[in-house]
Subunit: 409 residues, 2 copies
């Protein structure tokens, strides 16, 4: 087994934490902002210093490639993103880039033989925090979003378009450099878990089998607005009372379906939302995720089976977008699991509840993800943290899984 | 028994419905706005035509007085307001003014003998829809609000102050004209019920014993924000789930206290209110009203007895303003009840759940209110409605109650 350098891995995290650093910790490094461009420049400097060739494609995705021994072999690529949400942390996204960089630095420094070229890449605008939607560039490459429409997207709360930010970044390259199946063989994306499971179960690695499927609904209750002082309780049609009952019932019914089902009622809107008026309408969101689409069908059945009248109020729902479960590549999963076992790390096979660029890439190339623990399960916050040991273990798994792919494919 | 004219009563409602009329029905007649000034001018024209003397005080309250046979007797006054909320109806407030006007017109026309002078008055800015707070002018007269502070209040969504609007209205009179106990004897305020009780119980008149007491709280649940996709249900501290349980429990516990207790959770705020994030905080309002302060003490006990932890979330509360129950004058109540009985109208003794100028006046003079039914219990809406029969019955009760006061006091 090969191992990366724990010291170098930690130094990389520390070095990149400066770009967009906030007083008190964490970063704001919105896509294509000044600190994001500093991070890109540092990535270019470090990869070129290691002898890698750096190119970008027409939407600013960066690819840094180390040649292999076989000039005809396809590339193995490690990718993630370098942008953050507002008041984000030092691990989400950038850890995937830096563990890929550490793997290649190890290969270069330790002169590890490999047949395939090895690429480490940065996706532009994964978070969607400055330019919506999230996973914009992998979505463009995979034909999920129209490029022209995306270039016209204005930044949230401002006037600059994604296209303008891209042009002034200096990172617009050739469209033929886009990730493609003619030149690339396999895609790895290490990431922090962003949830509490690995930490709670005292495990070191998540071998990520895919991204869970998802359904999204709005559930609406229509009552009747009336005066808080003059309407006896028995005459009321109170939408908040009815919604409270429905939310409680949904927790019970959905909670009984499967222990791995996650469901969230994260948004609630009340009309007219005045303390002296009985609520006339409540609308709340329901987001449910599971890797087994059969389980999500059960969720949909529960929603469709909700009574149309609750405590005098009318219940109805709007279905929003969903996604089918994404299954990652079985062979790459075996490489990741094999490497983890051989390194002696504890692990579990799991699914990602959050979306990642890997889910789009998996439609183009064999793809897989590797998770490391997140302290207290926290992400998208300045206190996001994984220990030096954890970031190093993830890099070691990545290194050996990549080398297994290099040998086998 | 004397009776007013149903035709004249209906004509008055129709005539004043023009001032601020909205296409499709209802009115917007914000305090001291152009349509409110038109209504005041029409009131002055009509009262002067009947031989009344019209004066105003320093905050634009208008008093129109018909002399009685005894020059030394104190005045009996009927009052309410002529302003409306935005998209309000043709009855709230103005019905009290116009039924008073109809009573005096009947006294004049039918030459009904009376010892006391009879006054009908308009309070400035009862609704508080343009200048907060509600019941501003009766509040100033009773020392609840400082006049200078009120004059400086800017209109909601604009720059004009109450003082500026008052000066340009032409209705600023002498402070010595304010309602006072040296010159006035008793106060009557007819009003629509603004609730469904009289209509549902098929009653014609509400003999209003007072204004119910009230407590106001915010109840807050603190959970922990976490990712909708990556946080298993068992790890969650979901503030909306907890709030739903508390709201359901409160309906059960408060609903068991007393059938006449009204309580409302009308406002709810969620943080961060994003559909992919578990709610970190829910804050909701609780407004509870009852004429028996002992019942409200039980409400407070229920709130103070709420558990401090609910489904992993921390519960706490903020107490806001409240008011003690206002009891109207027992003798005036007997006059109203006696008049109602003699007229053969069905009625009930009840309390007002909403606030009215009468509640402040009751601290200065013996005061009482008379309710007539509101169609479907609706008020503060363009479809607010009471039938010509109902408005006439209310005026008849008012006339005979005033005459009883005139004889007895």
């Amino acid at each position: 087994m090969y191992t990366t350098s724990k010291e170098r891995m930690t130094e990389k995290i520390t070095a990149f934490s400066k770009f967009g650093a906030l007083e008190g910790g964490g970063i704001t490094r919105l896509s294509l902002s000044a600190p994001a461009l500093e991070a890109r420049a540092e990535f270019k400097r470090r990869t070129e210093a290691l002898g890698l060739t750096v190119v970008s494609d027409d939407i600013g995705n960066i690819y840094a490639t180390l040649p292999g021994s076989d000039p005809d072999a396809k590339r193995i690529v490690v990718g993630s993103h370098a942008d953050s949400v507002r008041s984000g942390g030092n691990y989400d996204g950038i850890y995937g880039v830096l563990s890929g960089l550490e793997v290649i630095e190890t290969v270069v420094t330790d002169k590890i033989p490999h047949r395939h070229p090895l690429t480490v890449m940065i996706w532009t605008n994964e978070e969607g925090a400055r330019f919506e939607p999230a996973m914009m560039s992998s979505g463009i490459v995979l034909g999920k979003f129209e490029k022209e429409k995306m270039l016209a997207v204005k930044e949230t709360g401002g006037q600059t378009t994604f296209g303008e930010a891209l042009r002034s970044s200096g990172w617009v390259g050739d469209a033929k450099n886009r990730l493609n199946k003619e030149e690339y063989l396999a895609y790895f994306e290490p990431h922090i878990e962003q949830g509490p499971v690995l930490e709670e179960q005292d495990l070191e690695i998540g071998v990520v089998g895919g991204v869970v499927g998802m359904v999204n609904y709005d559930i609406i209750l229509d009552g009747v607005a009336s005066h808080a002082g003059t309407t006896p309780q028995t005459y009321r049609k109170d939408a908040l009372r009815a919604a409270s009952k429905v939310i409680t019932d949904l927790w019970e019914q959905l909670g009984a379906i499967d222990p791995e089902l996650v469901f969230t009622m994260g948004e609630i809107f009340c009309k007219p939302n005045i303390h002296t008026i009985v609520p006339a309408q409540i609308k709340f969101s329901l987001d449910a995720r599971h890797r087994d689409m059969g389980i999500l069908d059960k969720v949909v059945s529960v929603i469709k089976g909700l009574p149309t009248e609750v405590l005098g109020c009318t219940l109805y729902y709007d279905e929003h977008w969903g996604r089918k479960t994404i299954e990652f590549d079985a062979q790459l999963l075996d490489f990741v699991e094999g490497a983890t076992k051989e390194l002696g790390y504890t692990y579990k096979r799991m699914y990602s509840g959050a979306g990642h660029d890997a889910q789009y890439v998996s439609e183009l190339l064999p793809a897989v993800m590797i998770f490391i623990p997140s302290k207290d399960g926290l992400s998208h916050t300045t206190v996001e943290y994984s220990t030096p040991e954890q970031t190093w273990h993830g890099a070691n798994v990545l290194l050996n899984a990549v080398l297994k792919a290099d040998s086998a494919l």
